[in-house]
C-alpha cells in the first residue's frame, strides 16, 4: 500500500466528526471580558461515558450548553451525532436529552403529566408504556401522580433523569446527575446509567464534582481549568500521570496549581 493509498483510506476530519457522537473543534466562548471556554477540542466515540471535571467556573456548563445549542460559541465548531450545532439542531434534538441543575420541571404538574408532555414533545411511541417502564426503573411509582413541587430533592432528581431518558436518547448530557441524592440512591442511579449505556450503546457526557462517580462510570476524563483542557485521558492513565491513587487527589492538584509538581513527581 502506497503512502497515498494509506492517506486515502484514513478517515478525514469530516468523517471522524460524523462518526463521533460529539466533535468539538477550537471552541471558544467569550462573555464580555471573560474567556469562559478557551480553544478546546475533543471528540467522543459513540457508546462511551466521559466525565467533564473542573472547579467552579472552569467552563464545564458553558461547554455542555454549547454542545446542546443553548449557548452560541464565539468561534469554533460543534458537531453532534454528525450534525452541526446549532445550525442542524432540528436533526438531532430528538435523539439527545439532558439533565441539569440549571433547569427544573414545572412544579405544579404531576410527575406523570410532566413526563407525558415531554414524551409528546419527543414523539415517544407507546408513551404510557414508556412512562410505566421509567417509573418502574427509577422507582417513581409511589409519587407518579404527585405534583413535582411536592417531591424531595432526591425524588426530583430521579424525575429529571426520567425526563432525560424519556426518548431513549443516543446522547445524554448530564450536569451533576447525582447531586442531592443519598449515597444509596446515587449508587443506584449510577448503576442505572451504566446499564442504560450498555443496553442502548448510548454516549454519555457528564459534568460532576463527585470523583468516585467519575472513577466508577467514565471511560475517559476531560479536566478543565479556566476554560482550557488541562488533561484528557482514561481515569487510570490520569491518576498514574499525577502519581495519585484517586481522581480527587488529581482534582486538588489541578485546582491548586500543583500540576507540574505532581507530574514531575510521577516521572
Amino acid at each position: 500500500m502506497t503512502e497515498n493509498d494509506k492517506a486515502s483510506s484514513r478517515p478525514t476530519v469530516a468523517e471522524r466528526s460524523s462518526s463521533a457522537a460529539i466533535a468539538v473543534e477550537h471552541l471558544v466562548k467569550i462573555y464580555k471580558q471573560t474567556r469562559a471556554v478557551d480553544d478546546i477540542s475533543f471528540s467522543l466515540t459513540r457508546g462511551s461515558i466521559t466525565g467533564l471535571l473542573g472547579g467552579n467556573g472552569a467552563g464545564k456548563t458553558t461547554t455542555i450548553a454549547m454542545i446542546m445549542g443553548l449557548v452560541l460559541p464565539t468561534s469554533g465548531r460543534v458537531q453532534v451525532l454528525g450534525h452541526r450545532m446549532p445550525e442542524e439542531s432540528a436533526a438531532v434534538l430528538g435523539r439527545m436529552n439532558f439533565e441539569s441543575p440549571y433547569v427544573d420541571m414545572p412544579m405544579r404538574l404531576t410527575v406523570r403529566q410532566n413526563l407525558t408532555v415531554f414524551g409528546k414533545l419527543y414523539a415517544v411511541k407507546n408513551l404510557a408504556g414508556r412512562i410505566a417502564e421509567l417509573a418502574d426503573d427509577l422507582d417513581l411509582t409511589d409519587f407518579i401522580d404527585r405534583a413535582n413541587g411536592k417531591l424531595s430533592a432526591g425524588q426530583k432528581t430521579r424525575v429529571a433523569l426520567a425526563k432525560a431518558l424519556i426518548n431513549r436518547p443516543e446522547l445524554l448530557l448530564l450536569d451533576e446527575p447525582t447531586a442531592s441524592l443519598d449515597p444509596d440512591t446515587a449508587d443506584w442511579v449510577r448503576a442505572h446509567l451504566e446499564r442504560y449505556r450498555k443496553d442502548n450503546n448510548a454516549t454519555i457526557l457528564l459534568a460532576s464534582h463527585n470523583m468516585l462517580e467519575v472513577e466508577r462510570l467514565c471511560d475517559r476524563v476531560i479536566i478543565m481549568k479556566r476554560g482550557r483542557i488541562e488533561d484528557d485521558d482514561t481515569p487510570e492513565a490520569i491518576m498514574a500521570r499525577y502519581n495519585r491513587t484517586t481522581l480527587e487527589e488529581v482534582f486538588l492538584d489541578v485546582a491548586r496549581g500543583r500540576v507540574n509538581g505532581a507530574k514531575e513527581a510521577a516521572r
Binding site: 462573555y31 456548563t61 458553558t62 450548553a65 446542546m68 445549542g69 443553548l70 449557548v71 452560541l72 446549532p86 432540528a90 434534538l93 430528538g94 436529552n97 439532558f98 441539569s100 440549571y102 433547569v103 427544573d104 420541571m105 414545572p106 412544579m107 405544579r108 404538574l109 404531576t110 403529566q113 407525558t116 408532555v117 415531554f118 409528546k120 414533545l121 419527543y122 414523539a123 405534583a147 425526563k163
Partner: protein, 272 residues
C-alpha cells in the same frame, strides 16, 4: 428561513403537547382560573355603570349607547389576549423550564403557536362571561355587532400576539428583570389607539402615530358601527395589512432576541 421551511418543520403534535402542558397548569390552580374571570368582570361592571351615568346626562352618549362598554370589551380582548399569551410564556420562565423546552425538538414557531392558542383559550374563559355580564346587567349585547365583531376581534388579537411575541423575546433575552414590560407595554398603546375617544381628538401629528396602530382601526370601526350604523370594511382591511407587518416584525425580533440570548448565555440564567 423560508415560509416553506417553517411550514414543513411545524409539528401539530408538539404544539398539542405544549397546549396540554398549559391546560394541566390551568386545571391545577383555581386562583389562576379565578383571576381570568375576576378582572374582566370588574372592568365591565365599573364601565357599565359609568356608561349609565353618562348616558343620563348626555344626549350624545344616550344616542351612542354602548360605545364605552363596547370599548371596554374590545380593549379587554386586546389586553387579555396579550396577557394570555405572555403569562403562559412567563410560566416557563418562573418554572425554569425554558431550557428544557429549548433543548427539546420544540421549534420557536411551534412554541409561539401554542402560546397563541393558549391566549385564545384564556381569553374565552375571561371574555365570554364578561360579555354575558354586559348583556344581563347593562343590556349591551356585543354579539349583536354580528360579523363586524369577528373583524374587530381578529385585528385586536393579531396585535395582542405581536406585542406578546415581542415582549416574550425581551424577557428571553433579559431574564425576569424585564418582566414588568409584559404587564405595562400594552398600556402605552391605550391612549394612542383611541380606545374611548375618536382619533380626531388627538393633535394632528399624534394622529399619524395612532393610525399606525391596528387597534385604532378596530375602535374607530366600533364607534362607526354603534353611532352611524356603518361597518367600515376599509378600516378592517387596513388594520389587517398593518397587523401582517407587525406579526412578521415581532416574529423576526423574537428570533433575533433568542439568538442574542443564546449568545449572552441568558437561557442558562433566566433570572434577574
Amino acid at each position: 428561513m423560508t415560509g416553506l421551511a417553517v411550514h414543513r418543520g411545524i409539528s401539530v403534535h408538539r404544539i398539542g403537547a405544549m397546549i396540554l402542558r398549559y391546560w394541566y397548569l390551568l386545571l391545577s390552580s383555581w386562583p389562576r382560573l379565578l383571576e381570568l374571570l375576576y378582572w374582566p368582570a370588574l372592568q365591565v361592571i365599573t364601565w357599565g355603570f359609568i356608561q349609565y351615568y353618562i348616558a343620563e346626562n348626555s344626549n350624545f352618549f344616550a344616542r351612542a349607547g354602548g360605545t364605552l362598554i363596547g370599548a371596554v370589551i374590545l380593549w379587554d380582548i386586546l389586553f387579555r389576549g396579550q396577557l394570555g399569551f405572555s403569562i403562559s410564556f412567563l410560566e416557563e420562565m418562573w418554572a425554569r423550564n425554558i431550557g428544557n423546552l429549548m433543548m427539546s425538538p420544540l421549534r420557536p414557531i411551534e412554541f409561539l403557536l401554542s402560546l397563541m392558542v393558549m391566549s385564545l383559550i384564556r381569553l374565552a374563559i375571561g371574555i365570554i362571561p364578561m360579555t354575558l355580564l354586559a348583556l344581563f346587567m347593562f343590556q349591551f349585547n356585543v354579539y349583536a355587532l354580528g360579523l363586524p365583531l369577528i373583524a374587530f376581534f381578529c385585528n385586536l388579537i393579531f396585535t395582542s400576539w405581536s406585542v406578546g411575541i415581542f415582549v416574550s423575546g425581551l424577557v428571553l433575552r433579559n431574564g425576569l428583570g424585564a418582566e414588568s414590560i409584559v404587564w405595562t407595554l400594552m398600556f402605552a398603546i391605550l391612549p394612542l389607539a383611541c380606545v374611548y375617544y375618536p382619533v380626531s381628538v388627538l393633535p394632528v401629528w399624534l394622529q399619524y402615530v395612532a393610525w399606525a396602530l391596528p387597534p385604532t382601526y378596530a375602535f374607530e370601526g366600533m364607534r362607526a358601527l354603534l353611532i352611524e350604523n356603518t361597518f367600515r370594511a376599509d378600516l378592517m382591511l387596513e388594520a389587517l395589512a398593518i397587523n401582517a407587518v407587525f406579526l412578521v416584525a415581532s416574529f423576526a425580533s423574537f428570533l433575533a432576541l433568542l439568538r442574542s440570548a443564546k449568545r449572552h448565555g441568558s437561557l442558562l440564567s433566566g433570572g434577574e
